[in-house]
Symmetry: D2
């Protein structure tokens, strides 16, 4: 034991002959044996996932990877335009906009469901009370997928097929049902909400859930940066903005 | 066709009923069917990988994911200390140090091998000439793994098992051999070098290779940030640095 | 007017002969005439500051620029270690930890004071009520400067000398006084709190206050990165951490 | 002296009663006395600038602060759209595109001039030889300011007025002259080039020059983010891109 008790890690180590992650030999036990997704599960949960857990986690990651030319993707591609020699800067820029507006729902849904699970009363009572008090219920509604978010039934199906339909996924369905009854508005469970519920059911802590979206989006960003190399969008987008923008300065005389 | 010919993308699209990536329905064709690694291959190469290609790519990603408390991991954990509400900032900070010093080798090795492949003469002649002109050969030698980097034989084995031992992986072995003969120093092929050769053999372009290390490291960073939440290292590290550091200012009188 | 009403900016424009910021000719009216601090005031407030306002803003920025080897500085220097070719990445990493833990106080203090200013009742009544309800009062107390934060009286003096002792700076003194009376603990107004109050009194909006700390810290980071170039700390810090860290992995058998 | 010789800094320190930067008391000697620009000079050069040096440095910073809705500004504003709670992320994203394409010229010009200054022969001979060998001369030409970049004569005038017309600024004029004679093309010295020459003449090292542009741009970004808060551009820009973009996916059948 070192004098600095805080200076320890369980994640990785290496010496002249071996590299170890979570106590497992990287070359002998992990490379060729596990996917990046399984490794991620191991790094966070300290155990390898079952086959079903890995399949569900991959499905969630695939569902979060990309949604076209979103603000974060545009930020990454515009950053690449100025600093193509630093791919890490473009990827980082593309992650930095993954905040409360787009990814908050993943965590908010998980936190909301956790709160409900901790309360006394029947499931319906708890949900009815909670929804009555709130203006917005996290995880419901989507600006584009107004009737059904296609990711939602797929996550439910994969969870069921693998015996992983947990408390939060089940409760989220009750939430959507009660919300519809109380408000008369039929808001579908959205993809971010179902991802939050499913990740929390898989055992990941709420403050880390956003991280899985970041991992998934890094994959999406690689696709966009590959496309940017072949077919640049950043520079012409800038040129068009620059040309069309109206300059409307304050009056210097005040 | 739009008036803006540059404003098109092949990556992602969505409408009220569906979400599409690379022309495939996300819910119907990708979720539950492909891993994040397979999706990444698809996003960059515009086709799904074979089983063997996916296995090799996963092995490369697993080999690059984490090496303990490296400078980039420390940067991420220290960033989390100051802004725990913005996980994306901590991940971004952890990626930003993934530059020429640590990851340059992946790309440098691929570029070096590409150059050699484009030259005339027998393989050995080309390699002998190239090494004779260079002080440093990218992809050889490692400060810790002095005799053998354990990742290297594993990548070669997985590539061979799957019929994916390509031109660059083979050439890199010749490079190591010729280097040993010419210099008398037995430098092993390092993990970054073999990753660069294998990624290039898989068909990824050199300027994007660093991106795969970024994806792998994002997974590693999730592990470290999960650990940081449970067992903080950033704040005590700062405190110790602050306490031990000697303040040695310039003389204000000049 | 363009068809896109949102595509307009008052900040900057240029054509073949001139560059304009906020309606002023950069070469003819700003370069050689204003400092970077005065320009920043202009860019945000759409008017140039008075001499006193500029002096107070500079004093605030100087007070926020650096506090030695803080977590954010260490993150920047460790990032430089890995990617010295991308100075922008090191600076960005150094800014990303400027979140709720260290800089939240600047904004929290301004928001708290704004709330109080909007309430009915005498100043003391309002403050007494507000403090009674709160566990923590933003802007009071400092882990190192337990008796007095030396920046605080200096900001008050400069504000007074220039006729800029505004509502929030005055109210913050009442807050500290009432807090002492109510709790018996004499917590000094800290540097972040006084900066928040002074910036808000200068007319800057609360959501932007953190930005001034970011500007000031960018200056501090340039100092640290210049030092890192001459006298590297990132690599030896990593080496020591790596050597001393105890590897304490989870049991793979679970 | 500590056992760790590398663990020392000359930049900042604090104890219960004082905060010190570069050996000077922050509250007593710096706040109210120096501008942020003067502090930056002190932090990097370990001495305060003369009045003329401060004026020249401010003029350079003002010249670099903003050029309207550039790719880096768009990246910052789009990042703010997704994560308005993390201003540091938007600023960081806005800095990350400040790489080789836009800011490289500042450093490239300084490095080129440094090389010339180190060579033997008369000034004209050295320049003639250097230009003859190069396709592109850094610091000359501008896509918009084709006849004259208005910042250039202003920097020269301020440098001259303050007795600071150094070797590099003078040499850069010879470079432009010889280039015109040799090629028949009259390319003006651009603003980035003159900034690089002037910063190097002020004594700043080439690898740090980009940092001054980063500092200046942080000021510009505060202006843009203030504008974004009042008059959002990020979300409508995304919406227009999303609406106009043509989805042109690869054929899934290959």
């Amino acid at each position: 034991m070192t004098d600095a008790d805080w200076l320890r890690t369980g994640i990785g180590d290496s010496d002249a002959d071996s590299i170890t992650l979570m106590g497992r030999d990287v070359a002998g036990e992990l490379m060729g044996e596990v996917t990046l997704t399984q490794l991620t599960f191991l790094l966070v949960q300290k155990r390898l996932p079952s086959e079903g857990e890995a399949r569900l986690l991959d499905a969630i990651l695939v569902s979060l990877a990309d949604h076209g030319l979103t603000p974060t993707v545009l930020a990454a591609r515009l950053t690449y335009t100025g600093a193509p020699e630093s791919l890490q800067g473009a990827v980082a820029a593309g992650l930095l906009g993954s905040g409360s507006v787009f990814l908050g729902v993943v965590e908010d849904t998980a936190r909301f469901l956790d709160e409900l699970l901790g309360q006394e009363g029947s499931e319906r009572e708890v949900v009815e009370r909670a929804i009555g008090e709130r203006k917005r219920v996290p995880g419901l509604g989507h600006p584009v997928h107004k009737v059904e978010d296609p990711r939602t039934p797929r996550i439910y199906a994969i969870a069921e097929e693998n015996g992983l339909l947990g408390d939060r996924l089940r409760l989220l369905r009750v939430v959507a049902e009660v919300h519809r009854e109380q408000t008369g508005r039929d808001l579908p469970i959205n993809g971010a909400g179902v991802a939050g519920a499913a990740l929390a059911d898989l055992g990941f802590p709420a403050p880390l859930l956003r991280g899985f979206a970041l991992l998934a989006r890094t994959a999406g960003l690689l696709g966009h940066l590959a496309e940017e190399m072949d077919q640049p969008l950043g520079m012409p987008l800038y040129r068009e903005v620059d040309e069309r923008a109206v300059y409307d300065p304050p009056d210097p005389e005040g």
